[in-house]
């Protein structure tokens, strides 16, 4: 969706047009939900977070500045909410069983799905700073420049943080016996 269309939807939402806001939800819910899921590693929390973020964004819509990218603005809210939730938790919580089951499918556990579960678990061992660059790059598919704008750090920092995050992740996965060849 182009920026002008989104601005139009934001403007209509501000006038109380909930259908317009519904369209914004349609466009962004999948990525936001996956961002939350990969950050907090819990299906219920990810669902709650996504709902909270859309509601908060709606309430703050008047502060959204025209000319900015809506996704960048709402992703930022999601990242902050996820970090707040992670900070309020005890460290190293176990992998959510429901999510593991969902990712592995009800009837069969394929090798690739098993690896997916291990990677998700490994993600939770990264510090929130490293985890957020991984999810923004690999699950929200943001460019380095978009991540730089969103995180308000230089592009160089984004690249270096991403490289380090993947290096640590690679080490964790190797220790878990995942072949990265």
């Amino acid at each position: 969706m182009v920026r002008e269309d989104e601005e139009e939807l934001v403007a209509r939402s501000l006038e109380g047009d909930t259908k317009a806001y519904g369209k914004l939800i349609d466009v962004h819910q999948r990525v936001l939900f996956n961002l939350a899921l990969r950050m907090v590693n819990d299906l219920e929390d990810a669902k709650d977070l996504t709902q909270i973020v859309f509601i908060k964004a709606y309430e703050r819509l008047a502060t959204f500045e025209r000319g900015r990218k809506f996704f960048s603005w709402i992703y930022r809210i999601m990242i902050n909410e996820s970090l707040n939730l992670i900070a309020s938790r005890r460290p190293a919580e176990p992998l959510d069983e429901e999510m593991e089951a969902l990712e592995m499918g009800p009837d069969r556990i394929t090798e690739s799905n098993e690896v997916t579960g291990i990677i998700q678990e490994a993600l939770t061992e990264l510090s929130p700073d490293y985890r957020q660059v991984i999810v923004l790059r690999h699950f929200a598919q943001l460019s380095h420049q978009e991540m730089s704008e969103l995180l308000e750090v230089p592009e160089k920092t984004v690249k270096s943080r991403l490289f380090t995050a993947r290096r640590i992740l690679g080490e964790i996965l190797t220790k878990r016996g995942v072949s990265l060849a």
Binding site: S13, I25, Q29, I55, E59, R60, A62, H138, R167
Partner: protein, 228 residues
């Protein structure tokens, strides 16, 4: 490129591929319905244009304010979050955040009066000092924290007793200040050295509960604002 570099890059690429193969999980079907149901009861919080424009004007004059987020519309949950780059913040007579301000001589405490409390804590490598001073009805709560990561400091108090007046810090910083009834919270990365000023015209004890959170750990204390 050395052989080691090549191995490192191959590994990086392999991790990237593994991440990209994870794919996306579909959000719950009812998510949109739940959001729409929740927002039907409310409208986006209107921005008081004059106020915002005033802040933007301040921002243009000097780097003062990064973003302003009117929070939940409900009165009980009402809070405002300011991202402050420098300067401080002022509160109205009901203790609600009014907006950012440039520091002025009148905001800097003169005679701080008598020290009523001084406490030190350590939480996950963050060293925190909390102080309280009183000069008549003027109460100052100082928070000094040294940490390499993010620190969140929450003050809770009886809003009928203590009325927040100003928030100041000793140097340029980028942090978030949140205000609600009987609650003030700042969130910032790294070192913190801030001062909250309250007006207290009541009698008897008016303690301030303090929570400092850093790197997943928390420490709580109570600041006494009256001499023992």
């Amino acid at each position: 490129m050395t052989h080691d570099d090549e191995i490192r890059d191959d590994r990086d690429e392999a991790v990237s591929r593994a991440l990209d193969r994870m794919g996306m999980v579909e959000p719950p079907a009812e998510l949109k319905k739940h959001v729409l149901r929740a927002i039907k009861a409310r409208r986006p919080t209107p921005v008081r244009i004059g106020w915002i424009e005033g802040l933007r004007e301040s921002f243009r004059r000097r780097p003062l304010l990064g973003a302003v987020y009117p929070f939940a519309a409900g009165a009980a949950a009402a809070a405002i979050v300011l991202t402050i780059l420098s300067g401080g913040a002022r509160f109205d007579r009901k203790g609600a955040l009014m907006g950012a301000m440039a520091p002025s001589a009148s905001d800097v405490p003169g005679d701080v009066g008598a020290r009523t409390d001084d406490q030190r804590y350590e939480v996950n490598g963050a060293n925190v000092r909390l102080t309280a001073d009183r000069n008549g009805d003027d109460v100052q709560a100082g928070v000094e924290a040294h940490s390499s990561g993010e620190v969140e400091i929450t003050l809770k108090f009886d809003p009928r007793r203590l009325k927040p007046v100003t928030f100041t810090q000793d140097r340029e910083w980028q942090g978030v200040l949140e205000s609600g009834p009987g609650m003030l919270r700042i969130r910032q990365r790294g070192d913190v050295n801030v001062m909250f000023r309250f007006d207290d015209s009541g009698a008897g004890d008016a303690p301030i509960e303090v929570t400092v959170e850093a790197d997943g750990g928390a420490v709580r204390g109570v600041l006494q604002t009256n001499p023992v």
